[in-house]
Amino acid sequence: MSARKVQSIRQNHLPDALPDFRNLGVISRILLAVNALALLFALARSREIGEFASKVTEIAGSLEPVLLVVLVVLYALSALFERLPYAQGLLAVFAVVLASAAALFPFQPVIGGSGGWGDFAWSLGCAAFVTGALAWYFHLRNRAFSPAISEARLQALQARIRPHFLFNTLNAVLSVIRKDPKRAEGALEDLAELFRTVMADNRQLIALRDELSLCRQYLNLEQLRLGERLQVDWRLDPTAEDALVPPMVLQPLVENAVYHGIEPGIAPGLIEVRIERRGDRLWLQLTNPYHPDYQHRQGNRMALSNIRERLQLHFDVEASLNTRVADGRYEIGIAMPYRTSL
C-alpha cells in the first residue's frame, strides 16, 4: 500500500480507478455521453432530415431501458467494484453492461432487422463499444485531474499552517514552560499532532470526527496564545460524526476565522461551528466576526479556493462552498453528500 502511494506521488498522478457510480456528476456524464452518441448514430443512419426524429425514438426505445438498468446495477455494486483492481473492475463493468443488454434483448422492439442472432450480436457490440468509449473518457479524465490533486495537496501544505501561527505558538509555549510545564507538554503534543496531519498524504477521505478533533487541537493552541479573546461555540449533530469528509476541510477555515475574525479585535470574539446532517446531506457552517478593515490580510481566498477545488475533486457537483457577510459576521457554508463508506 505505502509503496503504491510513493509511486503514485512520483508519477504525479493517481493509479487508474473506476469512477464513483454513486456520484451525481458521474451519472449525469454517463447519461449525457450515451445519449449524445445515440443522437450521432441516429443522424448517421438517417438518409433525410424527416427520418431523424423517428430514428431517435427507435434507438431511444431500445437504448434507455438498458442504460437505466446498467446505471442502477452499477450504483448498487459501486462499493464492491471499488475494492477490485482497475482491470478487474473494468471487466466487471463490461460484464454488467453486456449482461443487461442481453437480458433485455428479448423485450426490445425490433429495429429494422429480423430480431435474430445478427441483431443480438449488433446490440451487444454497440453496448460494448459505448462502454469502451466511456471507460476511455473516464481514464483520460482521471489522468487530467490527478496532477491537480497532488498540486492541491502541495499548495495546501504551504497555505495550511501559517508561519505566523507556528512562530507565535512556539513563543506562547515557551512562555508557559517555566510556570506550567504540564500545559507546555500538552501544547507541544497538540502541535505535533497538527503537523502530522498536515504533512500526511491528504487524498483519502477521513471521518468528520477526526477532522473535528484536529480543529479542537488547533483551537487549544490558539487559546493558549489569545486567552479569552477567543470564544468558540460548537453545535454538533452527533449523528454526523461518522461522515467521510476530505481531510483538512474545516481546519484551514477555523484558522482563517481566528486570523481574520479574532486577531484583529481587541474585544473577545466568537467563532461558531455548526454541523448538521439532513438526510443524505452534510452541512458545515462556520461564522466569525467580520473586520472590513483587515480584509487585505493574505490567505483567505487561497484557502477557500483550495478547499473548493478539493471538494469538487472528491464530490464533483454534489458539494458546494458559499461565503457571505451578514450582520457583521463572516459566514462560510459547505454542503456535501453524507457518506460513511467509500
Binding site: F167, N168, N171, A172, I266
Partner: protein, 250 residues
C-alpha cells in the same frame, strides 16, 4: 548608569510574560527595570508617556493599531524612547528593518538577541518618522498630538479639516482644535482620497462635506464656501482649487 526603563507592548499576554522572563535573564548584563506593559497601541502610548520609558519592545502585529503606527505616534513625545520591534513572521517588515538598520527581534525571541538589542537601544539609537513611513506606507488611523507630555490620539475619521497657520497645522474636530507638527502636503500624500484640498492652506475631509455656499468673490477666492457637517464655520475655496472641488458639489 541608571537602569533602563522598559515598556512592553504586545496584544498576547503569553508573549509579554515571555519577554519579561527573558529580560529577567538579561538583568545581570544590562541593568533595567520593566516599568509598564500594555496590550494595544492606544494604551501603550499612555503607559510609555507616564512611565517615561527609555526603551519600548513592541509587537508589529496588533489589533487596531500596528506596532509601526504606534512607533510613529511615539515620535511626537519630547523624548521618544528607543523602539525595538518584535515580530513572529512578517517578511515585508523584516526586509524594511534590515534596509533601515533598525533593531528587531523575531519570535520566539532569544535572550542573546534581546541583550544585543537592549545594549544598542541604551546607546540611544532613535527612529525617524521618514523611516517609519517608508516601512509602512499605509495611512495611519489616528493623528497624534503631544499635549502636556502625553500623546492624544485623534481618529482620522473625526477630523473635519486641517488648516496651515504660520508654524503649525490646526486640526479641527467637531469638539475642538489641536496643533500638529506635520505639513499639509505630507498629510495629503499619506491619506490620498480621505481629504481634498480646497485652498493652498486647507484640506477638508470629503466625508463631512455637506454643501457649498455662494459668497463674495475676491482676487484669490472663487466665491464659494464649503459647509461641513456639524460646524458653523465656513471655509473658502480658492480660485485655483475650485475646478477640482466643484466636481464634489454634484
Amino acid at each position: 548608569m541608571n537602569p533602563i526603563r522598559v515598556v512592553i507592548v504586545d496584544d498576547e499576554q503569553p508573549a509579554r510574560s515571555r519577554l519579561k522572563e527573558l529580560l529577567e535573564d538579561c538583568r545581570g548584563d544590562v541593568p533595567h527595570s520593566v516599568v509598564g506593559e500594555a496590550a494595544n497601541g492606544t494604551d501603550g502610548l499612555q503607559v510609555v508617556a507616564a512611565a517615561e520609558a527609555d526603551v519600548v519592545l513592541v509587537d508589529i502585529h496588533m489589533p487596531e493599531m500596528s506596532g509601526i503606527e504606534f512607533a510613529r505616534h511615539l515620535q511626537v513625545l519630547d523624548h521618544p524612547p528607543a523602539v525595538i520591534f518584535v515580530t513572529a513572521h512578517d517578511q515585508h517588515a523584516v526586509e524594511a528593518f534590515e534596509v533601515n538598520a533598525l533593531d528587531y527581534l523575531t519570535k520566539p525571541v532569544r535572550a542573546a538577541r534581546l541583550l544585543t538589542a537592549l545594549k544598542r537601544a541604551a546607546n540611544g539609537a532613535r527612529l525617524s518618522r521618514g523611516v517609519l513611513e517608508s516601512i509602512d506606507p499605509a495611512p495611519r488611523r489616528h493623528f497624534s498630538v503631544a499635549e502636556r507630555g502625553r500623546v492624544t490620539l485623534v481618529p482620522v475619521s473625526d477630523v473635519l479639516y486641517l488648516r496651515a497657520e504660520l508654524k503649525y497645522v490646526t486640526l479641527r474636530t467637531r469638539d475642538r482644535e489641536h496643533l500638529v507638527e506635520e505639513s499639509l502636503t505630507q498629510i495629503e500624500q499619506e491619506f490620498g482620497s480621505v481629504f481634498v484640498r480646497i485652498h493652498r492652506n486647507c484640506l477638508v475631509a470629503r466625508r463631512w462635506i455637506r454643501g457649498f455656499e455662494r459668497g463674495a468673490e475676491t482676487e484669490s477666492e472663487a466665491g464659494w464656501w464649503v459647509i461641513l457637517e456639524g460646524l458653523d464655520e465656513k471655509l473658502p475655496v480658492s480660485r485655483r482649487q475650485w475646478p477640482q472641488v466643484k466636481s464634489l458639489a454634484q
